[in-house]
Amino acid sequence: MPKIHIPTPLRQYAGKQPAIEVEASTIGEALSGLVAQHPDLRRHLYTDDGKLRAFVNVYLNDEDIRYLQKDATPVKASDSISIVPSIAGGRFDFRL
């Protein structure tokens, strides 16, 4: 089964597990399966209207799913899926 790697801040909503295996043939099925197993993850991954949050990146092995087939991207049992919240910032003050 494909393995989904959970980033450290979200493990508290995923039974404290660093990785979770789900039965899936696409990325969309894998993420749905993950959220079905761990419903507390939903609000951290998705907006109220069901879209993946803008700062949540999903990688299939080393590829961003946005540049593959998004939710329809096929996955194999040996694949590794990573959920990676973005890391950015800087001294720039957007309020100026």
Binding site: H5, P7, R43, Y59, G89
Partner: protein, 143 residues
């Protein structure tokens, strides 16, 4: 609290001097035990914000996936991040807070004045979601 070996502390400060007048950035790996984050290593990352590198940073998620994988092989987790503020205080900015999403992790900021690292501070991202998040001062224990 953030516990960090002297050599790693020195390396992240040096990174900020090397990239001056641009912001540097990188990932801190180690172990999390409740409120204590113990750093074992740091992974410098490239700043993808080449359009505004003097006051913005962004770590390529692809780098992060690799750093995370290499960390797993050493049984280390991501416990925080670091970046520099060239000619600006070592305090988080509104941009730092708006773009911080790793709850329970440390965000380390080093002020670099005229190319020399001055102050290094650390802040924990607390809260439960985007609506109540805060960057809170935390102690750094070096050594």
């Amino acid at each position: 609290m953030l516990k960090i070996p002297q050599s790693v502390y020195d390396s992240l400060r040096h990174h900020g001097e090397k990239t001056y007048p641009h912001e540097c950035c990188g990932v801190l790996l180690g172990q999390m035990d409740g409120d204590i984050r113990t750093v074992a290593s740091a992974a410098p990352a490239g700043n993808t914000r080449t359009d505004s590198a003097h006051n913005r940073y962004n770590i390529d998620p692809k780098d992060l996936v690799r750093i995370q994988r290499e960390g797993r092989e050493r049984e280390e987790d991501i416990v925080g991040f670091y970046h520099s503020h060239p000619d600006h205080p070592a305090q988080w900015s509104p941009t730092d807070l708006a773009e911080a999403h790793w709850f329970g992790c440390s965000y380390v900021i080093t002020s670099v004045e005229k190319g020399k690292a001055v102050l290094t501070n650390s802040f924990e991202l607390t809260g439960t979601d985007e609506n109540d998040k805060k960057l809170v001062d935390e102690k750094i224990e070096v050594g």
